[in-house]
Amino acid sequence: MTERVQRWFSALGRPTIYALVHLHRLNRLGMETLRWIFIEPFKGRKIRWRSVIEQSVRVGWQSIPIVGIISFFVGLILAMQSAYQLKPFGATIYVANLVSVSLTRELGPLLTAIIITGRFGSAIAAEIGTMKVGEEIDALKTMGLNPVSFLVVPRFLALIIMLPALTLIADFLGILGAYLFSISALDISSIRFINQTINALVLRDIVTGLIKSGVFAVIIASIGAYEGFIVEGGAEGVGKSTTNSVVVSIFLIITADVVFTALFYSTL
Protein backbone atom coordinates (compact mmCIF):
# COMPACT_ATOMS: atom_id res chain seq x y z
CA MET A 1 0.00 0.00 0.00
CA THR A 2 2.64 2.49 1.10
CA GLU A 3 4.66 1.51 -1.92
CA ARG A 4 1.77 2.33 -4.19
CA VAL A 5 1.30 5.69 -2.54
CA GLN A 6 5.01 6.30 -2.87
CA ARG A 7 4.95 5.41 -6.54
CA TRP A 8 1.97 7.64 -7.07
CA PHE A 9 3.71 10.55 -5.46
CA SER A 10 6.90 10.01 -7.39
CA ALA A 11 4.92 9.77 -10.63
CA LEU A 12 3.46 13.13 -9.75
CA GLY A 13 6.61 14.67 -8.36
CA ARG A 14 9.13 13.79 -11.04
CA PRO A 15 7.47 15.64 -13.93
CA THR A 16 6.81 18.56 -11.60
CA ILE A 17 10.47 18.78 -10.69
CA TYR A 18 11.48 18.47 -14.35
CA ALA A 19 9.07 21.23 -15.27
CA LEU A 20 10.37 23.47 -12.48
CA VAL A 21 14.00 22.86 -13.47
CA HIS A 22 13.19 23.75 -17.09
CA LEU A 23 11.29 26.82 -15.98
CA HIS A 24 14.16 27.93 -13.79
CA ARG A 25 16.71 27.55 -16.58
CA LEU A 26 14.43 29.21 -19.11
CA ASN A 27 14.03 32.10 -16.71
CA ARG A 28 17.80 32.36 -16.34
CA LEU A 29 18.24 32.44 -20.13
CA GLY A 30 15.55 35.11 -20.36
CA MET A 31 17.22 37.25 -17.68
CA GLU A 32 20.60 36.86 -19.38
CA THR A 33 19.06 37.94 -22.70
CA LEU A 34 17.46 41.00 -21.13
CA ARG A 35 20.75 41.86 -19.42
CA TRP A 36 22.55 41.86 -22.77
CA ILE A 37 19.84 44.02 -24.34
CA PHE A 38 19.27 46.59 -21.60
CA ILE A 39 22.29 46.68 -19.27
CA GLU A 40 25.45 45.58 -21.07
CA PRO A 41 25.15 48.15 -23.91
CA PHE A 42 25.63 50.88 -21.28
CA LYS A 43 28.83 49.17 -20.18
CA GLY A 44 30.20 49.41 -23.69
CA ARG A 45 29.32 45.90 -24.86
CA LYS A 46 27.29 46.82 -27.90
CA ILE A 47 24.38 44.99 -29.44
CA ARG A 48 25.42 43.42 -32.75
CA TRP A 49 23.10 45.41 -35.01
CA ARG A 50 24.57 43.94 -38.16
CA SER A 51 23.62 40.52 -36.93
CA VAL A 52 20.16 41.81 -35.93
CA ILE A 53 19.65 43.04 -39.50
CA GLU A 54 20.84 39.77 -41.00
CA GLN A 55 18.41 37.83 -38.83
CA SER A 56 15.63 40.32 -39.54
CA VAL A 57 16.03 39.73 -43.25
CA ARG A 58 15.74 36.00 -42.62
CA VAL A 59 12.75 36.09 -40.32
CA GLY A 60 11.00 39.11 -41.83
CA TRP A 61 11.73 39.75 -45.47
CA GLN A 62 12.08 36.11 -46.49
CA SER A 63 8.88 35.12 -44.70
CA ILE A 64 6.68 37.68 -46.45
CA PRO A 65 5.66 35.37 -49.34
CA ILE A 66 4.56 32.44 -47.18
CA VAL A 67 2.87 34.60 -44.53
CA GLY A 68 1.23 36.69 -47.26
CA ILE A 69 -0.17 33.76 -49.24
CA ILE A 70 -1.46 31.91 -46.19
CA SER A 71 -3.17 34.94 -44.69
CA PHE A 72 -4.65 35.86 -48.06
CA PHE A 73 -6.14 32.38 -48.33
CA VAL A 74 -7.40 32.43 -44.75
CA GLY A 75 -9.08 35.79 -45.40
CA LEU A 76 -10.69 34.28 -48.48
CA ILE A 77 -11.85 31.20 -46.57
CA LEU A 78 -13.23 33.28 -43.69
CA ALA A 79 -15.13 35.45 -46.14
CA MET A 80 -16.69 32.44 -47.87
CA GLN A 81 -17.62 30.73 -44.63
CA SER A 82 -19.18 33.81 -43.07
CA ALA A 83 -21.00 34.69 -46.30
CA TYR A 84 -22.51 31.21 -46.19
CA GLN A 85 -23.93 32.00 -42.74
CA LEU A 86 -24.90 35.60 -43.42
CA LYS A 87 -26.58 35.12 -46.80
CA PRO A 88 -29.96 33.83 -45.44
CA PHE A 89 -30.25 37.07 -43.45
CA GLY A 90 -29.23 39.24 -46.38
CA ALA A 91 -26.40 40.50 -44.24
CA THR A 92 -23.43 39.66 -46.43
CA ILE A 93 -22.03 43.16 -45.99
CA TYR A 94 -21.07 42.10 -42.45
CA VAL A 95 -18.45 39.79 -43.98
CA ALA A 96 -16.26 42.89 -43.87
CA ASN A 97 -16.76 43.30 -40.11
CA LEU A 98 -16.31 39.65 -39.30
CA VAL A 99 -13.19 39.08 -41.33
CA SER A 100 -11.40 42.31 -40.47
CA VAL A 101 -12.03 42.07 -36.74
CA SER A 102 -11.25 38.38 -36.38
CA LEU A 103 -8.11 38.75 -38.49
CA THR A 104 -6.62 41.75 -36.74
CA ARG A 105 -7.56 40.66 -33.23
CA GLU A 106 -6.89 36.97 -33.52
CA LEU A 107 -5.99 35.12 -36.67
CA GLY A 108 -3.39 37.52 -38.03
CA PRO A 109 -1.12 37.35 -34.97
CA LEU A 110 -1.79 33.66 -34.35
CA LEU A 111 -1.23 32.41 -37.89
CA THR A 112 1.87 34.50 -38.35
CA ALA A 113 3.29 33.28 -35.06
CA ILE A 114 2.65 29.65 -35.97
CA ILE A 115 4.22 30.02 -39.42
CA ILE A 116 7.26 31.76 -37.93
CA THR A 117 7.58 29.10 -35.24
CA GLY A 118 7.91 26.53 -37.99
CA ARG A 119 10.21 28.64 -40.10
CA PHE A 120 12.38 30.45 -37.59
CA GLY A 121 11.83 29.05 -34.08
CA SER A 122 12.84 25.60 -35.26
CA ALA A 123 15.81 27.08 -37.12
CA ILE A 124 17.02 28.81 -33.94
CA ALA A 125 16.85 25.52 -32.02
CA ALA A 126 18.57 23.59 -34.80
CA GLU A 127 21.35 26.14 -35.29
CA ILE A 128 22.18 26.62 -31.63
CA GLY A 129 21.81 22.88 -31.01
CA THR A 130 24.19 22.00 -33.85
CA MET A 131 26.65 24.57 -32.55
CA LYS A 132 26.45 23.07 -29.08
CA VAL A 133 27.05 19.55 -30.38
CA GLY A 134 30.01 20.73 -32.49
CA GLU A 135 31.60 22.47 -29.48
CA GLU A 136 31.07 25.81 -31.27
CA ILE A 137 29.33 27.24 -28.19
CA ASP A 138 32.34 26.25 -26.09
CA ALA A 139 34.61 27.79 -28.71
CA LEU A 140 32.73 31.08 -28.40
CA LYS A 141 33.14 30.99 -24.64
CA THR A 142 36.86 30.28 -24.82
CA MET A 143 37.22 33.32 -27.08
CA GLY A 144 35.61 35.42 -24.39
CA LEU A 145 32.41 35.83 -26.42
CA ASN A 146 29.11 35.37 -24.66
CA PRO A 147 26.84 32.95 -26.58
CA VAL A 148 23.68 34.74 -25.42
CA SER A 149 24.92 38.09 -26.65
CA PHE A 150 26.32 36.58 -29.82
CA LEU A 151 23.51 34.23 -30.82
CA VAL A 152 20.34 34.83 -28.84
CA VAL A 153 20.09 38.62 -28.67
CA PRO A 154 20.16 39.22 -32.46
CA ARG A 155 17.52 36.57 -33.09
CA PHE A 156 15.42 37.81 -30.19
CA LEU A 157 15.45 41.41 -31.38
CA ALA A 158 14.82 40.40 -34.99
CA LEU A 159 11.73 38.48 -33.93
CA ILE A 160 10.39 41.24 -31.66
CA ILE A 161 10.65 43.72 -34.52
CA MET A 162 9.64 41.49 -37.41
CA LEU A 163 6.76 39.43 -36.03
CA PRO A 164 4.47 42.46 -35.46
CA ALA A 165 5.49 43.77 -38.87
CA LEU A 166 4.60 40.46 -40.51
CA THR A 167 1.36 40.44 -38.55
CA LEU A 168 0.38 43.77 -40.08
CA ILE A 169 1.07 42.39 -43.54
CA ALA A 170 -0.98 39.31 -42.69
CA ASP A 171 -3.88 41.49 -41.48
CA PHE A 172 -3.82 43.53 -44.65
CA LEU A 173 -3.58 40.60 -47.06
CA GLY A 174 -6.25 38.64 -45.21
CA ILE A 175 -8.67 41.53 -45.53
CA LEU A 176 -7.64 41.85 -49.18
CA GLY A 177 -8.70 38.23 -49.67
CA ALA A 178 -12.12 38.94 -48.16
CA TYR A 179 -12.40 42.12 -50.22
CA LEU A 180 -11.72 40.37 -53.51
CA PHE A 181 -14.25 37.68 -52.69
CA SER A 182 -16.88 40.22 -51.62
CA ILE A 183 -16.66 42.48 -54.64
CA SER A 184 -16.61 39.59 -57.09
CA ALA A 185 -19.04 37.07 -55.58
CA LEU A 186 -21.27 39.01 -53.19
CA ASP A 187 -22.32 42.00 -55.23
CA ILE A 188 -20.81 44.40 -52.75
CA SER A 189 -19.21 47.47 -54.26
CA SER A 190 -15.59 48.17 -53.58
CA ILE A 191 -16.26 51.44 -51.79
CA ARG A 192 -18.94 49.92 -49.57
CA PHE A 193 -16.66 47.12 -48.44
CA ILE A 194 -13.87 49.54 -47.65
CA ASN A 195 -16.15 51.89 -45.74
CA GLN A 196 -17.68 49.00 -43.84
CA THR A 197 -14.23 47.73 -42.89
CA ILE A 198 -13.01 51.13 -41.77
CA ASN A 199 -16.09 51.60 -39.62
CA ALA A 200 -15.82 48.13 -38.14
CA LEU A 201 -12.16 48.31 -37.22
CA VAL A 202 -11.02 50.37 -34.29
CA LEU A 203 -7.41 51.04 -33.49
CA ARG A 204 -7.72 48.88 -30.41
CA ASP A 205 -8.34 45.81 -32.57
CA ILE A 206 -5.07 46.25 -34.36
CA VAL A 207 -3.12 47.22 -31.25
CA THR A 208 -4.27 44.25 -29.18
CA GLY A 209 -3.28 42.03 -32.08
CA LEU A 210 0.17 43.59 -32.21
CA ILE A 211 0.63 43.26 -28.44
CA LYS A 212 -0.16 39.59 -28.78
CA SER A 213 2.34 39.16 -31.60
CA GLY A 214 5.02 40.80 -29.43
CA VAL A 215 4.35 38.23 -26.72
CA PHE A 216 4.42 35.44 -29.29
CA ALA A 217 7.79 36.70 -30.53
CA VAL A 218 9.23 36.43 -27.01
CA ILE A 219 7.90 32.87 -26.75
CA ILE A 220 9.28 31.75 -30.13
CA ALA A 221 12.73 33.23 -29.51
CA SER A 222 13.19 32.00 -25.97
CA ILE A 223 11.87 28.48 -26.55
CA GLY A 224 13.92 28.12 -29.73
CA ALA A 225 17.10 29.31 -28.04
CA TYR A 226 16.47 27.30 -24.89
CA GLU A 227 15.81 24.08 -26.78
CA GLY A 228 19.03 24.71 -28.70
CA PHE A 229 21.12 25.17 -25.59
CA ILE A 230 19.83 22.02 -23.86
CA VAL A 231 20.69 19.72 -26.78
CA GLU A 232 22.57 16.64 -25.65
CA GLY A 233 24.03 13.83 -27.70
CA GLY A 234 24.61 14.50 -31.36
CA ALA A 235 22.33 14.78 -34.36
CA GLU A 236 19.51 12.87 -32.70
CA GLY A 237 19.43 15.38 -29.87
CA VAL A 238 19.28 18.25 -32.32
CA GLY A 239 16.32 16.66 -34.08
CA LYS A 240 14.50 16.08 -30.82
CA SER A 241 15.06 19.62 -29.60
CA THR A 242 13.98 21.11 -32.91
CA THR A 243 10.70 19.19 -32.81
CA ASN A 244 10.22 20.10 -29.16
CA SER A 245 10.80 23.76 -29.86
CA VAL A 246 7.92 23.78 -32.35
CA VAL A 247 5.51 21.80 -30.17
CA VAL A 248 6.27 23.73 -26.99
CA SER A 249 6.19 27.10 -28.75
CA ILE A 250 2.83 26.46 -30.38
CA PHE A 251 1.41 25.22 -27.09
CA LEU A 252 2.64 28.29 -25.22
CA ILE A 253 1.51 30.64 -28.00
CA ILE A 254 -2.03 29.33 -27.82
CA THR A 255 -2.00 29.36 -24.01
CA ALA A 256 -0.80 32.97 -24.01
CA ASP A 257 -3.41 33.74 -26.64
CA VAL A 258 -6.19 32.48 -24.35
CA VAL A 259 -4.90 34.57 -21.47
CA PHE A 260 -4.49 37.77 -23.48
CA THR A 261 -7.75 37.37 -25.34
CA ALA A 262 -9.56 36.94 -22.02
CA LEU A 263 -7.75 39.98 -20.68
CA PHE A 264 -8.63 42.18 -23.65
CA TYR A 265 -12.19 40.83 -23.66
CA SER A 266 -12.79 41.68 -20.01
CA THR A 267 -11.27 45.15 -20.26
CA LEU A 268 -13.40 46.16 -23.22
Binding site: E136, K141, M143, G144, L145
Partner: protein
Amino acid sequence: MEKEAIIQVRDLVTYYGNRQILKGVNLDIYRGEILVILGRSGCGKSTLLRHLIGLMKPSRGQILIKGRDITTMNEDEMREILKKIGMLFQGAALFNSMTVGENVALPLREHTQLEDSTIQIMTRIKLDLVGLAGFENFKPSQLSGGMKKRAGLARALAMDPEILFCDEPSAGLDPVVAMGIDQLILKLKNAFKMTIVVVTHELASVFTIADRIAMLHEGEIIFQGTAEEIQNSKHPIVQQFLNREADDVEPDREKYLHSLVKS
Protein backbone atom coordinates in the same frame (compact mmCIF):
# COMPACT_ATOMS: atom_id res chain seq x y z
CA MET B 1 66.72 30.89 -15.60
CA GLU B 2 64.14 30.33 -12.88
CA LYS B 3 61.12 28.38 -14.07
CA GLU B 4 57.95 30.42 -13.74
CA ALA B 5 54.67 28.56 -13.21
CA ILE B 6 52.16 30.25 -15.53
CA ILE B 7 49.34 27.91 -14.55
CA GLN B 8 48.99 26.47 -11.07
CA VAL B 9 46.29 23.96 -10.22
CA ARG B 10 45.66 23.52 -6.51
CA ASP B 11 43.60 20.66 -4.98
CA LEU B 12 41.12 20.67 -7.83
CA VAL B 13 38.03 18.60 -7.03
CA THR B 14 35.00 18.25 -9.26
CA TYR B 15 31.84 16.18 -9.39
CA TYR B 16 29.37 15.11 -12.08
CA GLY B 17 26.33 14.53 -9.93
CA ASN B 18 27.61 12.25 -7.19
CA ARG B 19 30.55 10.93 -9.16
CA GLN B 20 33.88 12.48 -8.31
CA ILE B 21 35.75 13.15 -11.54
CA LEU B 22 38.83 15.01 -10.32
CA LYS B 23 40.10 14.03 -6.90
CA GLY B 24 42.41 16.79 -5.77
CA VAL B 25 44.62 17.52 -8.76
CA ASN B 26 47.81 19.53 -8.18
CA LEU B 27 49.76 20.58 -11.23
CA ASP B 28 52.20 23.34 -12.20
CA ILE B 29 52.64 24.31 -15.83
CA TYR B 30 55.72 26.38 -16.62
CA ARG B 31 56.08 29.20 -19.10
CA GLY B 32 57.30 28.11 -22.49
CA GLU B 33 56.93 24.37 -22.05
CA ILE B 34 54.75 21.78 -23.74
CA LEU B 35 52.97 19.79 -21.08
CA VAL B 36 51.09 16.70 -22.18
CA ILE B 37 48.24 15.47 -20.04
CA LEU B 38 48.08 11.76 -20.69
CA GLY B 39 45.48 9.28 -19.64
CA ARG B 40 42.88 6.76 -20.67
CA SER B 41 39.44 7.69 -21.91
CA GLY B 42 37.27 8.79 -19.02
CA CYS B 43 40.14 9.52 -16.65
CA GLY B 44 39.12 13.16 -16.40
CA LYS B 45 41.75 14.72 -18.64
CA SER B 46 39.28 16.55 -20.85
CA THR B 47 37.43 17.68 -17.74
CA LEU B 48 40.69 19.05 -16.35
CA LEU B 49 41.28 20.96 -19.58
CA ARG B 50 37.76 22.40 -19.51
CA HIS B 51 38.47 23.68 -16.03
CA LEU B 52 41.76 25.25 -17.08
CA ILE B 53 40.02 27.35 -19.72
CA GLY B 54 37.09 28.26 -17.49
CA LEU B 55 34.38 26.27 -19.29
CA MET B 56 33.66 24.44 -16.02
CA LYS B 57 33.80 25.60 -12.43
CA PRO B 58 35.31 23.19 -9.92
CA SER B 59 33.58 22.09 -6.72
CA ARG B 60 36.73 22.87 -4.75
CA GLY B 61 40.24 24.07 -5.40
CA GLN B 62 41.99 26.85 -7.28
CA ILE B 63 43.34 27.44 -10.75
CA LEU B 64 45.84 30.28 -10.89
CA ILE B 65 46.73 31.68 -14.27
CA LYS B 66 49.60 34.14 -13.97
CA GLY B 67 48.94 34.21 -10.25
CA ARG B 68 45.24 35.03 -10.48
CA ASP B 69 42.51 32.59 -9.50
CA ILE B 70 40.17 32.09 -12.46
CA THR B 71 37.62 30.05 -10.50
CA THR B 72 36.38 33.12 -8.63
CA MET B 73 36.55 35.60 -11.52
CA ASN B 74 33.58 37.43 -12.95
CA GLU B 75 32.81 37.48 -16.66
CA ASP B 76 34.70 40.70 -17.43
CA GLU B 77 37.91 39.61 -15.72
CA MET B 78 37.68 36.19 -17.35
CA ARG B 79 37.28 37.78 -20.78
CA GLU B 80 40.57 39.62 -20.34
CA ILE B 81 42.34 36.39 -19.35
CA LEU B 82 40.80 34.52 -22.27
CA LYS B 83 42.11 37.04 -24.80
CA LYS B 84 45.58 35.67 -24.13
CA ILE B 85 44.55 32.02 -24.28
CA GLY B 86 43.87 29.96 -27.38
CA MET B 87 42.08 26.65 -27.55
CA LEU B 88 42.09 23.99 -30.24
CA PHE B 89 39.07 21.73 -29.90
CA GLN B 90 38.98 18.05 -30.68
CA GLY B 91 36.63 18.56 -33.63
CA ALA B 92 38.19 21.97 -34.42
CA ALA B 93 34.78 23.58 -33.58
CA LEU B 94 34.93 25.99 -36.50
CA PHE B 95 31.81 28.10 -36.99
CA ASN B 96 30.17 26.36 -39.90
CA SER B 97 28.16 29.39 -40.92
CA MET B 98 31.31 31.42 -41.55
CA THR B 99 34.20 31.06 -43.96
CA VAL B 100 37.61 29.98 -42.70
CA GLY B 101 38.83 33.56 -42.94
CA GLU B 102 35.87 34.89 -40.94
CA ASN B 103 36.49 32.23 -38.31
CA VAL B 104 40.06 33.37 -37.81
CA ALA B 105 39.10 37.04 -37.95
CA LEU B 106 36.29 36.74 -35.40
CA PRO B 107 38.34 37.16 -32.19
CA LEU B 108 40.15 40.12 -33.77
CA ARG B 109 36.91 41.76 -34.84
CA GLU B 110 35.37 41.30 -31.42
CA HIS B 111 38.27 42.15 -29.16
CA THR B 112 40.29 44.74 -31.06
CA GLN B 113 39.61 48.08 -32.72
CA LEU B 114 41.76 47.21 -35.72
CA GLU B 115 40.94 48.33 -39.26
CA ASP B 116 39.29 45.75 -41.46
CA SER B 117 42.26 45.71 -43.82
CA THR B 118 44.65 45.04 -40.92
CA ILE B 119 42.45 42.21 -39.70
CA GLN B 120 42.49 40.69 -43.18
CA ILE B 121 46.26 40.80 -43.30
CA MET B 122 46.56 39.24 -39.85
CA THR B 123 44.09 36.53 -40.81
CA ARG B 124 46.19 35.73 -43.86
CA ILE B 125 49.34 35.57 -41.75
CA LYS B 126 47.78 33.12 -39.29
CA LEU B 127 46.44 30.92 -42.08
CA ASP B 128 49.84 31.00 -43.74
CA LEU B 129 51.43 29.94 -40.46
CA VAL B 130 49.36 26.75 -40.34
CA GLY B 131 49.80 26.07 -44.06
CA LEU B 132 46.34 27.10 -45.20
CA ALA B 133 47.23 30.18 -47.24
CA GLY B 134 44.57 30.88 -49.84
CA PHE B 135 41.77 29.05 -48.03
CA GLU B 136 40.15 32.20 -46.52
CA ASN B 137 36.99 31.92 -48.57
CA PHE B 138 36.40 28.21 -48.06
CA LYS B 139 33.63 27.01 -45.78
CA PRO B 140 34.68 24.59 -43.01
CA SER B 141 32.55 21.87 -44.62
CA GLN B 142 34.81 22.01 -47.68
CA LEU B 143 37.93 21.16 -45.68
CA SER B 144 39.38 17.77 -44.73
CA GLY B 145 39.77 16.75 -41.08
CA GLY B 146 43.41 17.75 -40.92
CA MET B 147 42.76 21.09 -42.59
CA LYS B 148 39.94 21.83 -40.15
CA LYS B 149 42.33 21.22 -37.27
CA ARG B 150 44.81 23.61 -38.86
CA ALA B 151 42.12 26.23 -39.37
CA GLY B 152 41.04 25.75 -35.75
CA LEU B 153 44.64 26.27 -34.73
CA ALA B 154 44.87 29.43 -36.82
CA ARG B 155 41.78 30.76 -35.03
CA ALA B 156 43.23 29.84 -31.64
CA LEU B 157 46.35 31.81 -32.57
CA ALA B 158 44.50 34.87 -33.84
CA MET B 159 45.05 36.91 -30.69
CA ASP B 160 48.70 35.83 -30.30
CA PRO B 161 47.99 33.87 -27.12
CA GLU B 162 50.54 33.18 -24.41
CA ILE B 163 48.90 29.87 -23.59
CA LEU B 164 47.52 27.33 -26.05
CA PHE B 165 45.32 24.42 -25.04
CA CYS B 166 44.88 21.49 -27.41
CA ASP B 167 42.25 18.81 -26.87
CA GLU B 168 43.30 15.60 -28.64
CA PRO B 169 45.00 17.41 -31.54
CA SER B 170 45.77 14.24 -33.47
CA ALA B 171 42.59 12.28 -32.76
CA GLY B 172 40.91 10.99 -35.88
CA LEU B 173 43.74 11.96 -38.22
CA ASP B 174 45.94 9.69 -40.28
CA PRO B 175 49.52 9.34 -38.97
CA VAL B 176 51.04 11.65 -41.57
CA VAL B 177 48.57 14.46 -40.95
CA ALA B 178 48.82 13.91 -37.19
CA MET B 179 52.59 14.25 -37.44
CA GLY B 180 52.08 17.50 -39.32
CA ILE B 181 49.97 18.88 -36.47
CA ASP B 182 52.63 17.81 -33.97
CA GLN B 183 55.31 19.61 -35.98
CA LEU B 184 53.13 22.69 -36.04
CA ILE B 185 52.77 22.60 -32.25
CA LEU B 186 56.54 22.32 -31.87
CA LYS B 187 57.02 25.22 -34.26
CA LEU B 188 54.68 27.37 -32.19
CA LYS B 189 56.59 26.63 -29.03
CA ASN B 190 59.96 27.37 -30.58
CA ALA B 191 58.98 30.42 -32.62
CA PHE B 192 56.59 32.14 -30.22
CA LYS B 193 57.69 30.79 -26.80
CA MET B 194 54.10 29.75 -26.23
CA THR B 195 53.06 27.64 -23.27
CA ILE B 196 51.18 24.68 -24.68
CA VAL B 197 49.02 22.16 -22.84
CA VAL B 198 48.02 19.11 -24.86
CA VAL B 199 45.53 16.48 -23.80
CA THR B 200 45.94 13.21 -25.63
CA HIS B 201 46.23 9.46 -25.44
CA GLU B 202 48.28 9.06 -28.61
CA LEU B 203 51.67 7.79 -27.46
CA ALA B 204 53.48 8.51 -30.73
CA SER B 205 52.49 12.15 -30.50
CA VAL B 206 53.38 12.37 -26.80
CA PHE B 207 57.03 11.46 -27.30
CA THR B 208 57.38 13.84 -30.24
CA ILE B 209 56.17 16.98 -28.54
CA ALA B 210 56.23 16.64 -24.75
CA ASP B 211 58.67 18.54 -22.56
CA ARG B 212 56.89 17.14 -19.57
CA ILE B 213 54.12 14.61 -19.12
CA ALA B 214 51.46 14.42 -16.45
CA MET B 215 49.50 11.21 -16.33
CA LEU B 216 45.98 11.27 -15.01
CA HIS B 217 44.26 8.13 -13.77
CA GLU B 218 40.78 8.05 -12.26
CA GLY B 219 40.92 11.72 -11.42
CA GLU B 220 44.36 11.72 -9.85
CA ILE B 221 47.78 12.59 -11.19
CA ILE B 222 49.83 9.44 -10.82
CA PHE B 223 52.92 10.59 -12.67
CA GLN B 224 54.70 13.82 -13.58
CA GLY B 225 58.01 14.02 -15.39
CA THR B 226 59.86 13.99 -18.68
CA ALA B 227 59.40 11.54 -21.52
CA GLU B 228 62.50 9.70 -20.38
CA GLU B 229 61.30 9.46 -16.81
CA ILE B 230 57.92 8.05 -17.80
CA GLN B 231 59.58 5.24 -19.73
CA ASN B 232 61.58 4.30 -16.65
CA SER B 233 58.59 4.59 -14.35
CA LYS B 234 57.77 1.47 -12.35
CA HIS B 235 54.18 2.50 -11.74
CA PRO B 236 52.01 -0.43 -12.91
CA ILE B 237 49.31 1.72 -14.48
CA VAL B 238 51.87 3.85 -16.32
CA GLN B 239 53.57 0.66 -17.54
CA GLN B 240 50.27 -0.83 -18.64
CA PHE B 241 49.46 2.32 -20.60
CA LEU B 242 52.85 2.56 -22.29
CA ASN B 243 52.87 -1.14 -23.18
CA ARG B 244 49.30 -1.01 -24.44
CA GLU B 245 48.15 -3.96 -22.31
CA ALA B 246 44.46 -4.68 -22.00
CA ASP B 247 42.80 -4.74 -18.59
CA ASP B 248 42.78 -8.12 -16.86
CA VAL B 249 39.30 -9.41 -17.43
CA GLU B 250 39.38 -12.83 -15.71
CA PRO B 251 39.35 -11.84 -12.01
CA ASP B 252 36.68 -9.28 -12.72
CA ARG B 253 34.40 -11.91 -14.16
CA GLU B 254 34.63 -13.95 -10.96
CA LYS B 255 33.93 -10.89 -8.89
CA TYR B 256 30.96 -10.19 -11.13
CA LEU B 257 29.56 -13.69 -10.54
CA HIS B 258 30.03 -13.24 -6.81
CA SER B 259 28.21 -9.98 -6.88
CA LEU B 260 25.34 -11.66 -8.75
CA VAL B 261 25.09 -14.44 -6.16
CA LYS B 262 25.17 -11.96 -3.31
CA SER B 263 22.43 -9.74 -4.66
